[in-house]
């Protein structure tokens, strides 16, 4: 085939594919936030490889830590023993305190939903477009994961909530640092209620706090309010790092979330619809 004919053929193929991509992009407008079947199919093809890579990486790292780098294992072991001791003491104190306050049967009835109400999941991938938007975890429909379920880090701080696509053994979690996320929260000391949104840069913005509100202060803790019927109330979210008075009706308040993306290896998905913590 003459060279220019070949060039023309490739150029036509390129033009065809560009049209296909533009169509793909444009058909997402009527879909809104929903996932297309094509995207879901690609996602389902990809995740088994991600799960495999993630488990190989975990195995290699544990092989290294368990058989070669034993100093770290010893240090971790000591830390965990100390932590376990402290947690047991705290747990006993809290149990005693609650039992003193109410009858045992009533306590068991209230506490039981909190036990075994979560699924532990490993993070397979971070978002390739913007790491602060979403993560992909290795738990899905077969593990009881449903859209909207709340996701916490290893110490119970809010990470985000499950969004589509949810496959049999994997699902996507929208982080609270995503710009299109929204969480109803309040400040712990001043009790100011607002909506927390991500800024796409790893922090969050607390919106709808009136400029005239004098009580909200820097370093104040932010927790979920439960008013959105998505997140149970009382979950730790983050801490206020800056407050700027603007000419608008509301203050511009920046919040640093507690969860650390760089340390996010495992998360807990709340599989029960708990109202408060």
């Amino acid at each position: 085939m003459p060279l220019f004919q070949k060039d023309r053929k490739y150029f036509l193929l390129l033009a065809g594919l560009v049209v296909v991509h533009l169509t793909l992009i444009s058909i997402q407008v009527p879909l809104g936030g929903r996932t297309s079947l094509f995207e879901k199919t690609l996602f389902s093809v990809l995740t088994p490889f991600g799960r495999a890579a993630s488990s190989i990486s975990r195995s290699l790292s544990s092989f290294w830590n368990n058989y070669f780098y034993l100093r770290q294992v010893q240090r971790q072991n000591r830390q965990m023993r100390d932590e376990l001791f402290t947690l047991r003491q705290e747990n006993n104190l809290l149990r005693n305190l609650t039992e003193k306050m109410r009858g045992e049967l009533a306590i068991r009835g209230e506490i039981s939903p909190y036990f075994q109400s979560f699924a532990v999941a490993s993070v397979i991938w971070l978002d390739l477009g913007n790491v602060n938007r979403s993560i992909i975890i290795n738990r899905g429909q077969s593990d009881g994961i449903r859209p909207g379920m709340v996701v916490l880090d290893s110490v119970g701080q809010v990470v985000g909530r499950v969004v589509g696509p949810i496959l049999s053994r994997s699902s996507r979690v929208q982080l609270i640092t995503d710009e299109q996320s929204g969480t109803s929260v309040f400040t712990l000391n001043s009790k100011a209620v607002g909506i927390l949104k991500g800024d796409g840069q790893g922090r969050c913005v607390l919106e709808y706090i009136l400029s005239t509100n004098p009580d909200v202060a820097e370093e104040e803790e932010v927790v979920t309010s439960g008013f959105d019927d998505m997140f149970p109330s009382g979950l730790k979210v983050g801490r206020i790092i800056s407050i700027v008075k603007t000419s608008s009706l509301f203050k511009r308040i920046l919040v640093r979330p507690y969860f650390r993306l760089s340390e996010l290896r495992q998360v807990a998905v709340l599989t029960e619809n708990l109202k408060e913590f």
Binding site: I124, D127, L261, S262
Partner: protein, 159 residues
């Protein structure tokens, strides 16, 4: 058949390496784009047809791993594959220095195109990672340049 198997292996390696880098550090995700390595390598090695097709596949796979507008990376990587294959056939980019320079320019173009498209079609802000994502073309140029150097060395030794 051999070409298809090689391309499939390339995609598989990209998927696995991306998962590894995701687990290793959040900082590496915007800096290291292994899907671009695969597209550029195959486009320059096999021609623009391989570049176009692999660009489409790798781009859409990248889109599937991102919560955003589906198809943006697909479009930018398809164009990247075509340009890398077409230009490398017209001018000699085999010498190492020239190779690195060409790779840097072509991957900067892809990053610019992706950023432009994202800004145009999505209301979400882009994550700059403190400007670290600007390192992506450097990393891509060095990584693919090294892969070319090694593969040429192996081919020479094999023949």
């Amino acid at each position: 058949m051999k070409n298809i198997l090689e391309a499939a292996a390339g995609i598989l390696i990209a998927v696995i390496l991306t998962a590894f880098f995701s687990r290793a550090s959040a900082f590496l995700v915007p800096v290291v784009n292994v899907f671009s390595w695969v597209v550029i390598y195959f486009a320059m090695e096999k021609g623009e047809l391989a570049g176009i097709l692999l660009g489409t596949v790798c781009g859409l796979l990248q889109d599937a791993l991102s919560l955003g507008v589906f198809g943006v990376a697909g479009l930018s990587k398809t164009l990247l594959g075509y340009l890398a294959g077409f230009i490398s056939r017209k001018i000699n980019v085999a010498p190492f220095g020239r190779n690195i320079l060409f790779l840097f320019i072509i991957s900067s173009l892809e990053l610019g195109l992706w950023l432009g498209l994202m800004t145009f079609v999505s209301s979400r802000k882009l994550f700059s990672a403190g400007g670290a994502f600007l390192l992506q073309p450097f990393v891509t140029a060095l990584a693919v340049g090294l892969i070319f150097k090694l593969s040429r060395k192996w081919k020479r030794e094999a023949s």
